[in-house]
């Protein structure tokens, strides 16, 4: 049997059921890989003992013929998901020592399906960032490097630990969350697949909240098929999340028919932005050709308000964050920095507990929601958001999916962080519109740039039509035949 670390979820599932490998053997191989991957700093907390116990239980269920959809699959969990009794940090100093007394619905669903948790993965503080540089636990290193250049690169963010760990074989797959691109952008930077489902598809209950009208959990995997399998286990109605949508979870894997004849694929002209590297433009054209060769019909479409998505996002997301993060007060959980009065206790705790980017966003959010500015900023941004959603609605009258680049660049150096926050925000220019409109999107590794770094293409779809998104992504994946591997490999 080949190296267990190279199995996909689908292959591991089949090997486990055929008793070619046990869940304990698979988990043990990954526990070693987690240790070997420590130089990347992708895990904040390792949970080897619990992993082994869960793997043993999986072997029993497999023997009893009761294996679930994710039985014995070793996962990394983004440290934004509350896990019962296991330190949950959100990458922030302010949650020091926080051990949730409950389990998030998504991790509960995954464990109910038999998944094994290897540990909690590093991320940008409160998922605010596009390079995993804002974590209190330090930056994550991308397992990829530029050709002939030893410089450490960022894995993208905010799900940077998830992306790096999946790419480096330090977990078979990982959970991520995507508020403005936090699954798709790091997936593109590390040569893996990342799916953001429709808003409401996965429960947000027990996920540390950033921007509640945009946050959505999704799978980060090595293949499109794995994303389909894992999404099926994560998704579902949850009465504990009032925005969770009550509709059946389809068999996503069955949607991967390999047939996209007659599929209408839109190419939005507004996604051709100034200063985009030629390698990304070429890859986009290549993606168009790949889908056309398989029988898809390519349609030029226009999403005229695309350029306003990022500025609208940077009003809506900080506004919601400033409300959500009001709960960190030094009284109920986490860090407490004493003060003479209650206000001083709050101000000292939050001044010391939040990092620079989180403070910036809470302050921007507080400002745009403050008296006299609400209409000019927040209300205006919510109206622009309606315009953006309307653009997509019109496009989907003509096409089934949209094809775009996933990011405007490949991964950049940890020491190449732009000093201007707005420059950093531009990383999410292609991913943010789908969050504002609540639509599903997937990033698929499709090629390399001139320096040997992976690049992703993005497929966007209609609300709750993950099946078509996955089918198109699968066709793209088959045509691209991406076989690149990062320089760093765990174990």
């Amino acid at each position: 049997m080949s190296d267990p670390l190279d199995l996909t979820i689908a292959e591991a599932r089949d090997a486990l059921r055929a008793k070619k490998i046990s869940a304990v053997e698979l988990t043990d191989a990954y526990i070693k890989a987690v240790e070997a991957a420590r130089p990347l700093n992708c895990y904040i907390t390792e949970t080897a003992e619990q992993a082994r116990a869960r793997a043993e239980a999986s072997d029993k269920r497999i023997a009893d013929g009761k294996a679930g959809a994710m039985e014995g699959i070793p996962l990394g969990i983004k440290d934004l998901f509350c896990t019962e009794g296991v330190l949950t940090t959100a990458g922030s100093h302010i949650l020091d020592g926080f051990k949730p007394p409950y389990e998030s619905t998504v991790t509960r669903n995954l464990f109910d399906a038999g998944a094994v948790m290897l540990g909690k993965l590093n991320l940008d503080e409160f998922a605010m960032g596009s390079a995993n540089l804002t974590s209190h636990y330090g930056p994550v290193k991308n397992p990829w490097k530029r050709r002939d250049d030893d410089k450490d690169l960022v894995p993208g963010g905010s799900s940077g630990g998830s992306a790096a760990a999946v790419a480096a074989r330090a977990c078979l797959a990982a959970t991520g969350t995507d508020t403005g691109g936090s699954i798709r952008q790091p997936a593109a930077f590390t040569g893996i697949t990342g799916l953001k489902p429709t808003y409401g598809r996965c429960s947000r209950w027990g996920i540390v909240a950033f921007a509640s009208s945009l946050d959505q959990a999704g799978p980060m995997t090595r293949t499109v098929r794995d994303a389909a399998i894992m999404l099926g286990a994560m998704a579902g109605f949850d009465p504990k999340d009032s925005t969770s949508v009550d509709r059946p979870v389809p068999d996503y894997e069955a949607a991967l028919t390999g047939d996209i004849k007659g599929l209408k694929v839109g190419v939005p002209k507004e996604y051709r932005v100034d200063g985009m590297p030629a390698s990304i433009d070429r890859l986009w054209q290549q993606g168009i050709d790949w889908l056309k060769q398989q029988g898809a019909e390519i349609v030029d479409v226009s999403l005229p308000h695309t350029k306003y998505a990022l500025p609208a996002y940077y009003i809506v997301a900080p506004a919601e964050a400033s409300s959500n993060l009001a709960r960190y007060d030094g009284v109920r959980y986490g860090l407490r920095v004493e003060g003479e009065s209650l206000n001083e206790l709050y101000e000292n705790t939050r001044g010391e507990g939040f990092g620079e980017e989180v403070k910036r966003r809470v302050l921007i959010g507080t400002y745009v929601l403050s008296a006299g500015y609400y209409d000019a900023y927040y209300l205006k941004a919510q109206k622009v958001r309606s315009r953006i959603a309307e653009d997509f609605r019109k496009a989907y009258e003509q096409v089934d999916v949209l094809l775009t680049p996933a990011t405007p660049s490949a991964a950049f150096g940890i020491d190449e962080e732009p000093s201007d926050p707005v420059q950093m925000y531009l990383n999410d220019v292609f991913t943010v519109p789908a969050n504002l409109a609540g639509l599903p999107g997937i990033s698929v590794p499709a090629g390399m740039d001139d320096q040997g770094l992976p690049l992703g293409l993005q497929i966007l779809g209609r609300a709750f039509d993950e099946e078509t998104v996955l089918r198109a992504a699968h066709a793209l994946e088959s045509a691209a035949g991406f076989t690149g591997r990062p320089q760093f490999r765990a174990g």
Partner: protein, 95 residues
């Protein structure tokens, strides 16, 4: 609309975040840059457009008005930095 040092100090107090005096100027510069950049939304014609209040078209569910969880204060206060007898503690708020 320029975000100056005084405005940042006021907003920081509203947000209950202590910002050292020597950081106010640089922070004002960063926040002003962001606010100036989002001002471009002014170009968008939103005449007659309703604000988007929900990412999915769905109506909120009703449920029976009854308590269905709770009764374990020790679990609720387990993570508090200074809980006493199942209560949270704060500095004195009433003289």
């Amino acid at each position: 609309m320029a975000l100056d040092k005084e405005t940042v100090a006021k907003v920081a107090h509203l947000a209950r975040i202590k910002v050292p005096e020597d950081r106010l100027d640089s922070l004002a510069g960063e926040l002003d840059g962001i606010v100036n950049w989002v001002e471009q939304l002014g170009e968008v014609d939103v005449e007659g457009v309703a604000p988007m209040t929900s990412a999915v078209e769905t109506s909120l569910r009703w449920r029976e008005d009854k308590v269905d969880d709770g009764g374990y204060p020790e679990k609720v206060t387990a993570n508090a930095p200074d809980a006493q007898m199942n209560f949270y503690t704060t500095p004195k708020v009433v003289e």
